[in-house]
C-alpha cells in the first residue's frame, strides 16, 4: 500500500489516500489535460509544426458548429459502448468486446434495412425502432455467449470477449464482400445506402441529434437500472464481492448473464449509431476502434453514466480534431493518433494521483 524511497536529503513516501476529496479529483484531471497539451506542444514543435496554430485547429472541433456536430456524431458510439462497459465493469465482468458487439449491432441494423428495401418488410416509421431493438438483441447475445461460457465452464471473459471481436469483424467482411454487397455498387465492398428514414438526423441543424437523444436516454436508463432496480442492486453486490453475493443467496450466474446481455446490447446500439448516424450504410472496418476508446471513457468517468456522456463528447471531439489536423495542417494520421494517445496517458496518470499522495519528508536517514 505504501512505498518509501529514501534519498540523501530526505524520503519520499507514496501513500494511498484515505479519502478522495472532490476538488483534488477535479484539479488533477484539469492539470493532466493541461500538461498533456504541453507535452503535445513540445512534440509538435519538434516536428516543425506551430503548436498554437494546431491547438487552434483542434479547438474548432468543439466550437465551429459543423465540426461540433461531427464531434457529437463521433461520440455516440463511444458513449453507448461505454455505458454498456460500465454495467459489465460494475460486476467485475471484464467485457473488452464492445468492438465486436458494435459490429454485431451494425449487422442487425443493416439486416433490418435490407429486409425492408428488398422485401418491403416493415413500415418505414417502424424501421428505426426495429433497427434499435434488433441491434440491441444481437449485440447482447454476442456478449451473452461469453458470460454463458464463464458461468458454465469458468472460461475467462477477457479472452473470449476480445477474440469474438475479430469474429464479428470478419462476419461483416464476409457479408459485405458476399451476399450484402450492393449489386449496383460497381463491385465496391459496400452495402446499399440506407434510406433517409433509416438514418439519424440533426433536428433544425442543432445538436439535438437523434444519437445524442439515444445516448442521454441510455445514460438515464443505466442510471435508473443501477440505482432503483433489483438487478442493479445485484450487479453492485456481485461486483463488490462474489463471496458475499453467494452468501446472500444471489444467483450469481443469472446476474452476470443478464448484466452482460445489457452490456453487449448497449454496444450493439452503438453499432446502429455508426451505420445510421455516421456512414449511412455498412462497410468493412466501419468502426475505427470506438469499442476500445469506450473502455478508456468508461474507466475515466468512474463508470458514472452521466460523466460517460461528457467524457465521450470530449473524446469524440478529439477524433474530429485529429481529422481537422490532417486536413488543414498536413499532420500525418499517425501523429494525430499519437496526440490522442498522449492525452489519454496523461489523464490515466492523473488517476494515480487521485488515489495516492506523495509525502516529502526532510532530513536524511538518521534520527
Amino acid at each position: 500500500m505504501s512505498l518509501k524511497i529514501r534519498t540523501k536529503f530526505g524520503s519520499i513516501k507514496i501513500e494511498r489516500r484515505l479519502t478522495y476529496p472532490r476538488h483534488i479529483s477535479i484539479l488533477t484531471t484539469v492539470l493532466a489535460i493541461l500538461l498533456s497539451f504541453a507535452a503535445v506542444a513540445v512534440i509538435l514543435t519538434l516536428m516543425g509544426i506551430n503548436a498554437f496554430e494546431a491547438f487552434a485547429v483542434m479547438a474548432r472541433a468543439f466550437i465551429v458548429p459543423r465540426l461540433l456536430f461531427e464531434s457529437v456524431k463521433q461520440s455516440i458510439p463511444i458513449c453507448l459502448s461505454a455505458l454498456g462497459i460500465a454495467i459489465a465493469f460494475k460486476m467485475n465482468f471484464w467485457n473488452i468486446g464492445a468492438e465486436g458487439q458494435i459490429y454485431m449491432g451494425m449487422i442487425a441494423a443493416t439486416g433490418v434495412v435490407l429486409l425492408h428495401v428488398y422485401y418491403g418488410a416493415f413500415n418505414e416509421y417502424l424501421l428505426l425502432p426495429l433497427m434499435t431493438i434488433s441491434s440491441f438483441l444481437l449485440g447482447g447475445v454476442w456478449c451473452l455467449i461469453t458470460s454463458f461460457l464463464k458461468s458454465k465452464l469458468n472460461v475467462n471473459e477477457i479472452l473470449t470477449t476480445l477474440m469474438l471481436n475479430y469474429v464479428a469483424i470478419l462476419i461483416v467482411d464476409y457479408l459485405i464482400h458476399g451476399p450484402w454487397r450492393d449489386p449496383k455498387g460497381y463491385g465496391f465492398p459496400l452495402s446499399i445506402a440506407f434510406p433517409n428514414y433509416a438514418k439519424f438526423i440533426f433536428v433544425l441543424d442543432s445538436p439535438a441529434y437523434t444519437g445524442l437523444l439515444i445516448s442521454i436516454l441510455a445514460a438515464a436508463a443505466v442510471f435508473f437500472v443501477m440505482k432503483y432496480t433489483k438487478i442493479g442492486f445485484e450487479i453492485n453486490v456481485v461486483g463488490h464481492s462474489l463471496n458475499v453475493a453467494k452468501y446472500a443467496g444471489i444467483n450469481v450466474s443469472r446476474v452476470i448473464m443478464l448484466g452482460s446481455f445489457l452490456s453487449g446490447g448497449l454496444a450493439g446500439i452503438g453499432g446502429l449509431s455508426i451505420v445510421s448516424g455516421i456512414i449511412g450504410r455498412l462497410r468493412p472496418r466501419a468502426s475505427p476502434g470506438y469499442g476500445y476508446t469506450a473502455i478508456i471513457v468508461a474507466a475515466l468517468a468512474g463508470l458514472n453514466p452521466w460523466l460517460i456522456v461528457v467524457a465521450s463528447l470530449f473524446f469524440g471531439g478529439l477524433l474530429t480534431a485529429g481529422e481537422s489536423l490532417q486536413a488543414s495542417m498536413n499532420v500525418p494520421k499517425a501523429a494525430t493518433q499519437m496526440i490522442q494517445a498522449i492525452i489519454f496517458l496523461f489523464i490515466l496518470m492523473g488517476e494515480f494521483f487521485k488515489r495516492y499522495q506523495i509525502i516529502f519528508e526532510r532530513g536524511g536517514n538518521g534520527s
Partner: protein, 509 residues
Amino acid sequence: MEDLVVLRGIVKRFPGVVANDHVDFTLKRGEVHALLGENGAGKTTLMNVLYGLYKPNEGEIYVKNKRVHLKSPKDAIELGIGMVYQNFRLIESHTVLENIILGAKDLEFKIDFERHEEKIKRLAEVYGWKIDPRMKVWQLSAGEKQQVELLKILYRGADILILDEPTSVLTPQETRRLFKALRRMASEGKGIIFITHKLNEVMEVSDRVTVMRRGKVIITKNTAETSPVELANYMVGRPVILKIEKAESKPGAEIAKLIDLEALSDKGVLALRKVNLTIRKGEIVGIAGVSGNGQVELAEVMIGLRKATKGKVMIDGVDVTNKNVKEIIELGVAYIPPESTRWGIVKDLRIADNLFLKAYRYPPYSNKLLLNWKKIFEETEKLVKEFEIMTSSIFAKARSLSGGNLQRLILARELSGLIGGGAPKLIIAAYPTKGLDVGATEFVHKTLLRYRELGSGILFISEDLDEILMLSDRIAVMLEGRITGVLSREEANVEKIGLLMSKAVAQAR
C-alpha cells in the same frame, strides 16, 4: 532484576491513526510479562517496533541497557530478540531440524546434522517437549509447530521472547504445557512478553501485566496484585460483567438434523466425515475445537454454500441437502459467517445496502422489478437503533464502522426477521465474537441468548472454550472433520473437551 528491554515514549503513527501513543514498557530478566489489550489496542504494533519491523516516529529503545536503533528484524535477532507469530513461519515440507538450523548463528560450512540433532533434542527435553527433529513440519500438530518455533528462537540463543497470542491455536492441555515451558524459560533468566486478550491466561502465567487501550499504556501491575475484573475494566475503560445470566434451557422440537454428513474442503479433501448432530428449538449447541477442523465447512454445507458429498441435512423436517442458499434462507435459517468482512459485509456499500443484502428481494422492500428504497431506509433507521449500531448516517459506507458495529449490522440483518418476520428457526453462528472487543462480544452473547429464549435453535461455533461453556446447552467437539463427542452442559468441562479436541482420542478410535 536487570532490565532486558526498556521502551520509552514510543510513538508510531499510521495514516489516520496513532497506533502507539507515547508508550513506556519494561521487560525484566526472568519474568513473564503479559501485554493485555483488545484488538487494535496497539500491542502487536509495539512488538513490531521492538522486533525492528516498524521504525517508531518517536521514542527510544534500550536493550540490555544500551540504546539501539533497529533497522530490521535482523538487528533485533542479533540482540537476542525472538518472535513467535500467531501464524507460524515454518517451511512445512522441511524437517524440524532443517527449520530450526535455518537462520541459526555460526552454522558450519558442512552442516553436522547429527550434532545439531543431539543439541536440539537436549534443548527440547529441558522444556519437557518430546519432538523428533527428523519429522517433517507438516506432520506436526499446531502445538508441536509452536514448540518448533520456540526451539528455533532458543537455539539461536535468544533471551527476549515475544509470543503473539500463542494460545489461540492450542487445546487446553497444550496451553498448559506451553505455560509450564514459559515458566521454565523465565526461571533460566529469559524475559518473555506474552501478548493476549484473555484474562485468565494473564492470571495463570504472568508475573507482571501491562494493559493497553487505544494505543496507550493504561497501567503496569504485578499480576498477584490484580484481578480479572480489574484488568477487564482497564482494558475496556468501563466496568464490565464477565459472567452473564442465563435462563434454564427449554429445548423444544428438533429443528435441524445432520445425518452421516460428508463434504470436501476447498482443497478437495474430505473435510466432514460422517457428521451426525441434532439441534433443537431453544437450545444452543456449541461446536468446540481448534479451528480448521471442519467447522466452517459444516456451517457452509448447512446453509447451502458447499455441496454435501454424502449424507443429509434436514431443517425443520425438510430435506435441504444441496439446495441453494436462497431456498435455505427462505426456510428461516440465519447465518453469521466467519471473517465477516470477507463473507458477510460489502465494505464499500452503504449500511442500508448491507442490511438488505438478503431481504431486498422480498416484499415490501421490492416488487418484481424495483426496490422500495423508502421502505428500506425506514426499516434501516429502525434497526440501526434497535441493534445499537453506532453510525453518523445509514448512508455511510460499511467501511466506516468498527468491527463490533459491523457484527451488530450482521446480527441485525440475520436475526431481526426482515425475511418472513419473527425469530429465525435456526441460527448458525460461526466464530461470531472473533476479533471483537469485550463490549461487542457481550452484545453478541446477549443477543444469541435472547434468540434462544425466542425459540431459535442455535449452532454456535467458537474456538474460545470459555464462551462455549458459558453459552452452550450441549457441546459437540470437532476434530479432523469428525464429531469426537457430544457432552451435555452438566458433564462438560475444559478437561473433557480438551481431551476430545486432541489427537490422542482420534488415534484411539
